[in-house]
Symmetry: C2
Subunit: 90 residues, 2 copies
């Protein structure tokens, strides 16, 4: 899991321990077209996440990189402490 640690671990600035949710999307295109798929998914995936955790818009970082053959989207969310439910035994 070290590749993820290095990939995802570079943006933490606050010394306080917080939960983070990070999403990486990559769309590899063999041919032409559909380069906008990732941008379509971005908003809807954020909506899905907001159904489960309360997201402070200031704590969301979005980075998009559209290459010729690969489009990538990185979403980094700092999860507010208050939205974490108590640990359940299920």
């Amino acid at each position: 899991m070290s590749f993820l640690t290095s990939l995802f671990g570079r943006k933490t600035s606050a010394p306080i321990a917080r939960d983070r949710l990070q999403i990486l999307l990559a769309h590899e295109r063999a041919g032409e077209g559909q380069s906008e798929l990732i941008s379509k998914l971005q908003e809807e995936i954020l909506e899905v996440i907001k159904r489960h955790i309360s997201v402070d818009q200031d704590k969301v970082q979005i980075k998009m990189d559209r290459g010729a053959g690969v489009s990538m989207l990185e979403i980094d969310i700092e999860v507010p402490e208050a939205t974490k439910p108590a640990a359940k035994a299920d």
Copy 2:
């Protein structure tokens, strides 16, 4: 982008060039609880994707890894050629 190439490029078996959509979710937990967030998101994110591309269930690979402090989900989708719309000029 070479880290993603190596991270994501290991499952291609077909010699035919195809589109692929790959999603990586990582939930870093500072404290206890909410280890099930990633599994909750899995189904709903797949629903979002299916709204935009037709997904053959056989072409979806899902891998989940729940560690003590980090839960990870990897979704790998091979996009059928037929679902790719013609390139538009928008």
